[in-house]
Each structure stands twice: as structure tokens, then as C-alpha cells.
């Protein structure tokens, strides 16, 4: 069975991620190792779906690049706004002893999910500039 080059590359990357995650798990870095193993498994399984698709369905072309840029731009500003809100909450509320390690996950996941959701939204709505 002849496979596209990118499919083969993705299989190798997912295998590498699973091996790396397993090594980190053995070294007792459970959160990091588990996260990388999960990402590797998701990539491995998604490859079976994408392997059947022709290139004209999954190519990373100019429209996808623009959608990524627009979603990234807006996700960046959403992240800045969340950071600003957290800053003022820490400054003027009773949560004065909040540390960065306590809130970084809020900022990280807000930015990440904002990008993912906006990317999905623009890929459905289209972009006109």
C-alpha cells in the first residue's frame, strides 16, 4: 500500500512521542510523560483518518495559513486580556498571595482553547479581508 510521505512522517513522529512519553513516565515525570503519550496516541489514531483523505482535503494552503494567523492574532489578545484581569484581581482583591504557578494554567489553556475555537469558527465562517 503506497502511503503519502506526510502520513509516514506523522506515524514516525507519533511513535517517537509515545516512546519519549514512556521514557519520561519511567523517570517519574508523570504529567509531562502522560501528556506526550496522549498526544502521540491522538496523532497516531488521527493519521488513520487522514491517510484516506486526498491531499486536496488536507493541504495546508494559503486559506488555512490566514485562518491560523487570524485565530492566533485574536487568541493573543484574549490571552493578554485574561492576564490583565488576573493582574487586577491579584492586586485589589483578597487573593494577594496568588503565585504565577497557580494561575499560569488558566492563561495557558485560555490562549490555547481560544486559538482552537477561533480556528474552527473561521474555518466554518470563512475570512474576507
Amino acid at each position: 500500500m503506497k502511503m503519502r510521505k506526510d502520513v509516514v512522517t506523522r506515524f514516525f513522529i507519533s511513535a517517537f512521542m509515545i516512546i519519549t512519553g514512556t521514557a519520561l513516565w519511567i523517570l517519574k515525570l508523570y504529567a509531562l510523560g502522560g501528556g506526550i503519550i496522549l498526544a502521540g496516541v491522538v496523532l497516531f489514531l488521527s493519521n488513520f483518518y487522514y491517510a484516506k483523505k486526498p491531499e486536496t482535503e488536507i493541504l495546508y494552503d494559503e486559506m488555512m495559513r490566514r485562518i491560523d494567523e487570524k485565530a492566533g492574532y485574536h487568541a493573543f489578545w484574549i490571552t493578554i486580556i485574561i492576564l490583565t484581569i488576573l493582574f487586577w484581581i491579584c492586586k485589589y482583591s483578597s487573593y494577594k498571595n496568588v503565585r504565577f504557578t497557580d494561575v499560569y494554567s488558566i492563561v495557558l489553556f485560555t490562549g490555547l482553547y481560544a486559538w482552537i475555537i477561533l480556528r474552527f469558527y473561521y474555518s466554518k465562517k470563512g475570512i474576507l479581508e
Binding site: 494552503d61 475570512i127 474576507l128
Partner: protein, 67 residues
């Protein structure tokens, strides 16, 4: 921006996928172009016009009231 891509595709008996492959984009991009949901770059517009052997202005109808 309105386009006449669908009209020219029908004239040349070409599917969206075939056109997408010729110009190096996703089929979805051609769908969005035909629906007026996406404005192509000059390079892409030129490539599509070249496939149909027409001018860009014949393929893409620019309205000054477009956003």
C-alpha cells in the same frame, strides 16, 4: 467578492477537486471562493485565471461596496 469560478468549471467540465489540485489548494478553499466566503491572494487568483485561460477581472467581480 463574487466569482465566476463555478461557471468556468462547468464550461471546462472540471470538478472542485481537480481545480484545487491544479492550483495547489484545498478543495474547501475552492468551495469558499465560489461561495464568496474567502478572498484569494493575487497569486491564487492569477493561478485560477491561468487554468481557465481568462483574465483575473473576468473571473473575480470586484464590488467597491465589498468590505
Amino acid at each position: 467578492m463574487k466569482t465566476r469560478i463555478k461557471e468556468f468549471r462547468a464550461k471546462y467540465n472540471m470538478t472542485q477537486e481537480e481545480l484545487a489540485k491544479k492550483v495547489g489548494v484545498r478543495r474547501e478553499t475552492i468551495v469558499f471562493l465560489e461561495k464568496g466566503k474567502y478572498n484569494p491572494s493575487l497569486k491564487l487568483a492569477y493561478k485560477i485565471a491561468k487554468v481557465f485561460n481568462v483574465r483575473i477581472e473576468d473571473l473575480f467581480i470586484f464590488d467597491e461596496n465589498d468590505p
